[in-house]
């Protein structure tokens, strides 16, 4: 059985936290550039130009793109034939976050208790989602998530009669209500199906999908495109100052659900939609 030491996992997560916060994924960067070229509204073009300058400064000077370096979402896909050695896997993840946020001069944005609100001082704990998958590898995704956009996310348990129209209306309404708050241009992750808990995770997982990779099912690919078009007809624009570029992309993830339900979750992410993946 293949072995992987927790110390290797910690080292990788440390580096991934820093890289994710300083360098935008190529698909998101390309999408901002393309939107800049296609944006007809001068003020919006100007705002998008500033985002491009910011990306350049952050990368060349190793500075975080955004001061909200997020709560650290870590997705683990653990091969069932992999033996992890050397201690507690989750603690290895937290330690990687702890080191990355210290060494990378990233902001510590986590409070240890939601009501008593004392900062933990090291950005831990991470939000860990682990799945067991075939194989003997460990796929790690590190996705720092800012809360300007997280706070604008919503979930609804629609009746099945709501159908695709109900889903569409909820997504558009969520984006309209969010307006300028989540730092548009946004990326919209939509979860449909499953249960109350699962649908929120689906929406988060949708945000991990590269913007240049549409849904494999033509039905959902078309729905993603329809939602993106509708969102960009709202006129909110970059930063909410007006313009075409309200969203860079819409990604949908689905799961089977109960005969009585149609859960829908919309997880909004800002233009600094960060994630890096490595397979160990």
């Amino acid at each position: 059985m293949r072995e992987l030491s927790t110390s290797v996992i910690t080292d990788h997560i440390e580096e991934m936290c820093i890289r994710a916060n300083n360098i935008l994924p190529p698909d998101v960067a390309a999408c901002i550039r393309k939107s800049r070229e296609e944006e007809p509204w001068p003020a919006a073009k100007d705002t998008l130009d500033k985002l491009l300058i910011n990306m350049d400064i952050a990368e060349t000077q190793s500075m975080p793109l955004c001061q909200d370096t997020g709560m650290t979402c870590v997705f683990l896909e653990i091969g069932q034939d992999l033996h992890i050695t050397g201690g507690d896997l989750y603690e290895a993840v937290h330690e990687g976050v702890r080191r990355g946020y210290s060494k990378g001069f990233l902001r510590k944005s986590v409070v240890g208790d939601p009501l008593n609100r004392k900062n933990t001082g090291d950005n831990t704990p991470a939000l860990i989602h682990a799945d067991i998958v075939p194989g003997d590898k460990l796929a790690v995704t590190v996705a720092p998530k800012g809360f300007g956009s997280e706070n604008m996310s919503r979930l609804i348990m629609l009746p099945p009669s709501g159908g695709v129209q109900g889903v569409t209306d909820f997504v558009i309404d969520t984006v309209r209500q969010a307006g300028p708050n989540p730092c548009p241009p946004i990326v919209v992750g939509v979860g449909i199906g499953g249960s109350f808990d699962r649908v929120a995770l689906l929406a988060k997982q949708a945000l991990m999908r590269p913007l240049n990779r549409p849904h494999p099912d033509p039905y959902y690919r078309e729905l993603e495109q329809t939602l993106l078009t509708r969102i960009n007809e709202l006129g909110i624009g970059p930063q909410g100052f007006g313009g075409k570029t309200t969203a860079l992309g819409v990604s949908i993830e689905t799961y089977p659900t109960h005969i009585a339900g149609l859960p829908v979750a919309v997880n909004i992410s800002c233009h600094v939609t960060r994630h890096v993946q490595e397979v160990l």
């Binding site: 007809p40 509204w41 003020a43 919006a44 705002t47 500033k50 985002l51 300058i53 910011n54 400064i57 952050a58 000077q61 500075m63 975080p64 793109l65 955004c66 001061q67 909200d68 370096t69 001069f105 990233l106 902001r107 510590k108 944005s109 609100r117 900062n119 001082g121 300007g148 706070n151 307006g179 300028p180 708050n181 989540p182 730092c183 709202l234 006129g235 909110i236 624009g237 930063q239 909410g240 100052f241 007006g242 313009g243 075409k244 800002c270 233009h271 600094v272």
Partner: protein, 185 residues
């Protein structure tokens, strides 16, 4: 053409600005987020003096990343402003003249801005490395225990911002979207 704003930011200067104006702010601004606002307003409610002078002042809603050796400040873009709405009217009544943030404000905040002559500026959310370059000095003045949320005194030079809500209630989030939509109809 960008309008130059310097601190102290007078009521006259504030009342002359209109939503959509591009400005460059120079002088002193104080940082404060949720936790610092809660403490400031708690002091007011106890009738105690504030640790910073807010009359004709500007507050920037920001919690920067830690500065590296040799840096004045880390990345420093705006946080979402509505979380400060519950506290803001009391600070505006004291003479707070400008706020820099991003996102919508409550009707109560806008009413208070109209009454006392204050302006809400937007900096570009998420362009935090870009914005940090206009901050020339930074020092923690109080609430150091809050870390990123401590109140800092910043010296800024040509800090780029846009008037989002002016002292007449004009709102770029409405007028900007309306103008764009009218242009594509």
């Amino acid at each position: 053409m960008d309008i130059k704003i310097t601190t102290p930011f007078t009521e006259e200067a504030a009342r002359s600005l209109r939503a959509g104006d591009a400005v460059l702010i120079s002088g002193t601004v104080y940082t404060a987020r949720d936790a610092a606002h809660a403490r400031l307003v708690a002091l007011l409610e106890e009738g105690k003096p504030l640790p910073v002078e807010l009359r004709d002042g500007i507050i920037y809603y920001v919690g920067p990343t830690p500065e590296k050796p040799g840096q004045v400040i880390g990345s420093a873009g705006p946080t979402t402003s509505y979380r400060m709405d519950a506290y803001t009217p009391q600070l505006i009544a004291l003479g707070l003249r400008g706020m820099i943030g991003k996102g919508k404000r409550s009707p109560q905040v806008v009413e208070s801005m109209k009454e006392h002559g204050a302006v809400y500026f937007g900096a570009i959310g998420g362009a935090a490395a870009f914005t940090a370059k206009t901050i020339t000095q930074a020092e923690v003045v109080c609430y150091e225990d809050l870390g990123a949320e401590a109140i800092r005194k910043l010296t800024v030079k040509d800090f780029p911002a846009t008037v989002i809500i002016d002292s007449t209630g004009g709102n770029l989030y409405e007028s900007g979207v309306d103008s764009y939509l009218a242009s594509v109809r």
